[in-house]
Every structure is written in structure tokens, then in C-alpha cells.
């Protein structure tokens, strides 16, 4: 088990592993997305309060969950990179950042589209919305910092520190609706205890969440693969591999 992870730390093995697993992940993403969309749009019942418009939850909530999940992946990879000086950790962190930013933007936009008809406003500076916006700025800061510093190792260290500092925002986003009073409602789905959502609505939500996870896995590996190609272009294994495939 551990030796498997140790081998993944080498860009070469990671590259070959990604090559093998990407098609599987990609197809399961597509299938789960189709099932999730179908369940969400056609099988899930209408809501007693919000009618049909609540269905945007099937994009909004998975996107918001992913925005925090990806940040944690990025911060943990950053931390591993700082401590062990591992090349792959930096590749993962920098491949994850734009994906996380995209999930955050998606959560903010769908939230805004949902807020107008339900709450009566596109935007309000409450604790949940503001902390999610700060998350977007953290992602953008990470991306900007990385492209601003020319030296790869310095950039990796600086970005890892930024990512780790921003971790404090994650519990703030999560608990904002409990610690302060906000316009955004409290949590519907909690890990412990009964969720405040009918099962027939919850199953499509969890399916969509799985689809988002798989999508993230697929695109993360694809992006990491490109990063490896670029960073390792002068190594012998890469030259051999490219020459080999040319024959």
C-alpha cells in the first residue's frame, strides 16, 4: 500500500498511472453525470416551498462542497510539498487550483441565480456568501502568485504557504450559517444525524456529488499529466517515452 504511494511520488510513475486510469474515470464521470441529471430533473419531486426552482441545488451544492474539498486537497498537497520537498505535491496543488476556482465561481453564480427568485436578491454580504467569495480570491491569489514567481521551487513554497494560511477560511465557510445569523439557510445535509431533505431528493444530490468528484479526479489527473510533460521534458525517461511512441 505505502510502496504504491511512494511510487506515485515519482512523476514518471504518476504519469503512467494517470494514463491508465483517466479513461476509466472519464467514462464513469459521464455516466454518473447523466444518471444524476436525469434523477435531479425528472425523478426528484418538486419542493413544497420552492417548487421546481430548487432543482438548481443539484449543481449549486455539489459545486460548493467541491470548492472546499479541492481547497483542502490543494492545501494538503502544499503542506506535503513544503515538508517533503516532493515535486508531485506541487504538481497536484497547482493542477487543483484552477479547478477549485471554477467550482467556486460555479457555486457563486448558481447561488446568485437561485437567490434572486427565492430570497429576492442576487447578492447579500452575509457571512456565508462573503466567505465563499474570499475562497475565490484565495484561489485566484494562488494562481496569480504562481505565475508571478519565475523560479518553480520558490513559487511552490510561496503558494503552499498561501494555501495553508487560507485553510482557516474553510471552517468559517462551513460554520458561517451556525456561528452568525445569515440570509443563507443552515446546513441541509449533515454527516451525523438525519438530513433535512426527503430521501427522494437526497439520492440525486449525492449522485451529482459523486459525479462532481469523479469529474474533479479526471480533470486533476489530466492537468497533472500536462504539468508533468512540461516540467519533465528534459528528462531521459520522457525523451525515451516520446521517442518510443514515435516508432
Amino acid at each position: 500500500m505505502w510502496s504504491f504511494f511512494h511510487r506515485l511520488a515519482s512523476p514518471k510513475h504518476f504519469y503512467l498511472f494517470a494514463n491508465r486510469i483517466i479513461p476509466w474515470l472519464g467514462w464513469s464521470t459521464l455516466i454518473t453525470f447523466i444518471i444524476g441529471t436525469y434523477l435531479g430533473l425528472f425523478v426528484a419531486p418538486t419542493d413544497y416551498q420552492q417548487g421546481e426552482s430548487y432543482r438548481i441545488i443539484y449543481i449549486h451544492v455539489p459545486a460548493a462542497w467541491m470548492s472546499m474539498f479541492v481547497y483542502m486537497i490543494m492545501a494538503i498537497a502544499g503542506g506535503i510539498g513544503l515538508i517533503w520537498k516532493m515535486k508531485m505535491a506541487d504538481i497536484i496543488a497547482s493542477s487543483a487550483a484552477p479547478l477549485g476556482a471554477a467550482f467556486t465561481i460555479l457555486a457563486l453564480i448558481t447561488g446568485s441565480l437561485w437567490g434572486k427568485p427565492m430570497w429576492g436578491t442576487w447578492w447579500i454580504w452575509d457571512a456565508r456568501l462573503t466567505s465563499e467569495l474570499i475562497l475565490l480570491f484565495l484561489y485566484l491569489g494562488f494562481i496569480a502568485l504562481q505565475s508571478a514567481i519565475e523560479d518553480r521551487r520558490t513559487a511552490a513554497n510561496a503558494c503552499a504557504i498561501l494555501a495553508l494560511v487560507g485553510v482557516v477560511n474553510i471552517p468559517i465557510i462551513h460554520y458561517s450559517v451556525e456561528w452568525w445569523n445569515t440570509l443563507h439557510q443552515g446546513p441541509t445535509v449533515t454527516r451525523f444525524g438525519k438530513s433535512a431533505m426527503a430521501t427522494s431528493m437526497l439520492i440525486p444530490l449525492l449522485t451529482m456529488f459523486l459525479a462532481f468528484k469523479l469529474y474533479f479526479g479526471t480533470t486533476l489527473l489530466m492537468r497533472a499529466r500536462v504539468e508533468i510533460l512540461e516540467r519533465e521534458r528534459d528528462t531521459t525517461w520522457m525523451k525515451k517515452m516520446i521517442m518510443g511512441s514515435d516508432k
Binding site: 505505502w2 419531486p45 418538486t46 419542493d47 413544497y48 416551498q49 420552492q50 430548487y54 441545488i57 503542506g79 513544503l82 515538508i83 517533503w84 427568485p117 427565492m118 430570497w119 429576492g120 436578491t121 447579500i124 454580504w125 452575509d126 457571512a127 504557504i161 495553508l164 494560511v165 485553510v167 482557516v168 468559517i172 456561528w179 452568525w180 445569523n181 445569515t182 440570509l183 439557510q185 443552515g186 446546513p187 441541509t188 433535512a196 431533505m197 426527503a198 427522494s200 431528493m201
Partner: protein, 155 residues
């Protein structure tokens, strides 16, 4: 399994990172506790009656629309309702179009000023919905069950 690094240099870096996160975490925690009232989106009726809300400038009030308190003017868009936290209530006057989710017993956040006589003059009213999602039939079943329970206990 060995999760902690063995190498002393790596251990030191891990400790530094842990220290940094705790440090920043406590700083942010202290700052947010100090700013609690600024981060809160609205004041509840009890806070307003206790005089905690700002006197001369706009603020937000939040709570539930008291059941049976909504009065609409037939000639214009004036509406009167009371916001309650189930203990205290504050009367609110608003002119305009309400969000679809505005209804009695539902959460609401209104922005405006408190008049000297204790009436809140709102210029925006937003609906706050709860975290429950269920099909209409389930909601109907719950309210039927509640009614049955209250007739059985004689309330």
C-alpha cells in the same frame, strides 16, 4: 504506518506549519469574535427592543413573519406585518413587491430604519427559506399529523 516524518529537518518544517496554522487560526478566531455584531446580518426583535440596534441609521431585522399579522392595503402596495422571534415582535411597514417565498410563519430579513414609535420602516424585504426540502405531499402529511396531535392532546 508512519505519518510523521523521521528526518529532523522535515519534523521542524511540519512543526512550523502546525504553529503557523494555529497562530493564524487563533488570530482569525479572535478577530471574528470581536466583530461578531458586524458579521451578523440582522438584529432579532428581542435585541431591537433591548435597544441594541443602531438608532439613526439603517440596519436589518430578521425573524419569522408572525402568523395572522400580515395586512395588505387594497389600494396600493403598502403592507404591514410583524417580525417575531417567538418571544418578542416588532411591527414592520413596507411598500413594494415581496419575494415569492414571503409568507406567514416563514423567515424574513428586512432592511430599513426604526421609527421613534418602534415601527420598522423597511425599504427592502428578503425571504429567508429554511433548510428543509421535501415533496408537497410530505409537507401536507406533516401538517396533518401536527393537527391530529393537537386535537388529541386537546390544544
Amino acid at each position: 504506518m508512519r505519518l510523521l516524518p523521521k528526518h529532523p529537518k522535515r519534523r521542524k518544517r511540519l512543526a512550523l506549519i502546525a504553529l503557523m496554522i494555529t497562530g493564524i487560526g487563533s488570530a482569525v478566531a479572535l478577530a471574528t469574535i470581536a466583530l461578531k455584531q458586524n458579521i451578523n446580518l440582522f438584529y432579532g426583535p428581542t435585541q431591537i427592543l433591548a435597544g441594541d440596534a443602531p438608532k439613526n441609521h439603517a440596519f436589518r431585522i430578521g425573524g419569522l413573519v408572525k402568523k395572522g399579522s400580515v395586512k395588505r392595503n387594497k389600494d396600493n402596495l403598502d403592507i404591514y406585518f410583524e417580525v417575531t422571534d417567538t418571544v418578542n415582535k416588532v411591527p414592520v411597514i413596507y411598500t413594494g413587491i415581496l419575494p415569492d417565498l414571503f409568507r406567514e410563519g416563514q423567515g424574513v430579513v428586512a432592511q430599513g430604519k426604526l421609527r421613534a414609535d418602534g415601527v420598522f420602516i423597511a425599504d427592502t424585504v428578503l425571504a429567508k427559506h429554511d433548510e428543509n426540502y421535501m415533496p408537497p405531499e410530505a409537507a401536507q402529511a406533516i401538517s396533518d399529523a401536527k393537527k391530529l396531535q393537537s386535537t388529541m392532546t386537546g390544544n
